[in-house]
């Protein structure tokens, strides 16, 4: 067993031993919120906006981008599980801003014909605006869903509202 796995299982046993009323939580997020943000290790959305288990859907990928899969998750979130307010949260010092699609293709030795859309971006505020707009324009997203766009600052922990 890897050291990491051993440590995870030990922490998990401890977590389970104090599970309390979390066993009775409903599948629907109690705050009716979904957050889409980056996978970045420095970000803990539950901590930085004050959530506990049961409160909100959390969707994360490289960049916090509105990919097809993020849209799939958000559509399920509102239609089956009743969320009505969404937050798109990118962050400063993001890997998706440091590298270009060509850079990453090159790291994997991909030929031009094999190129992958890595969803990198060059302007953080613009990437948030574009992603929020993608959701607002999506034919299956109803207009009554409130959609916010933010940038999390990795140096201060503060959220900056973009839209």
């Amino acid at each position: 067993m890897s050291e990491i796995l051993n440590n995870f299982l030990s922490c998990n046993k401890e977590y389970s031993s104090n599970f309390g009323t979390k066993k009775d939580l409903a599948i629907q997020p109690s705050k009716r919120v979904a957050i889409l943000t980056c996978m970045d290790a420095r970000l803990d959305p539950a901590k930085f906006v004050g959530l506990v288990e049961g409160d909100a859907h959390i969707i994360r990928n490289a960049g916090g981008r509105v990919s097809d899969d993020a849209v799939r998750s958000l559509l399920i979130s509102f239609k089956l599980l009743n969320t009505n307010e969404w937050f798109v949260i990118h962050h400063t010092d993001c890997g998706m801003e440091k590298f270009s699609n060509d850079d990453i293709d090159a790291q994997f030795n991909l030929a031009e014909s094999e190129s992958i859309n890595w969803l990198t971006f060059t302007d953080n505020e613009k990437s948030v605006l574009e992603d929020v707009q993608l959701l607002k324009d999506h034919p299956l997203v109803p207009s009554e869903i409130i959609i916010h766009g933010f940038i999390y600052n990795c140096s201060t922990g503060l959220l900056h509202k973009v839209c």
Copy 2:
């Protein structure tokens, strides 16, 4: 301003005021781990395996499925940011097991020609095995990456190892 947003910003201010050494965290996850799990509101992977900010990439979508976008994120995770151990964690009582693709298409009034692959599943253990295998078989995922498969029990908080 919505009540939710007001509350988030107030909690965020508090979080930022105790930010301490988190301002100096590196972009690379210190434990060299990436976790792929479900967006479900009841799951807090940082809490259930004992992580703090800076430790691990966390990727989340509806079901914790190995979608194209999850693969994109994991490839970036190891190639650009040096992770070498991945955890795929599905969970009991998952919405992706309660509904079929046809059910969800019907909720959105989609015609057969507009059908979306919602990545639902009918057998939880099998879905974990299949997702881990997808990663192991992926041409851009090197064999030296350790990949674990788990199911998180929403009634107990315990992780059950599948593979």
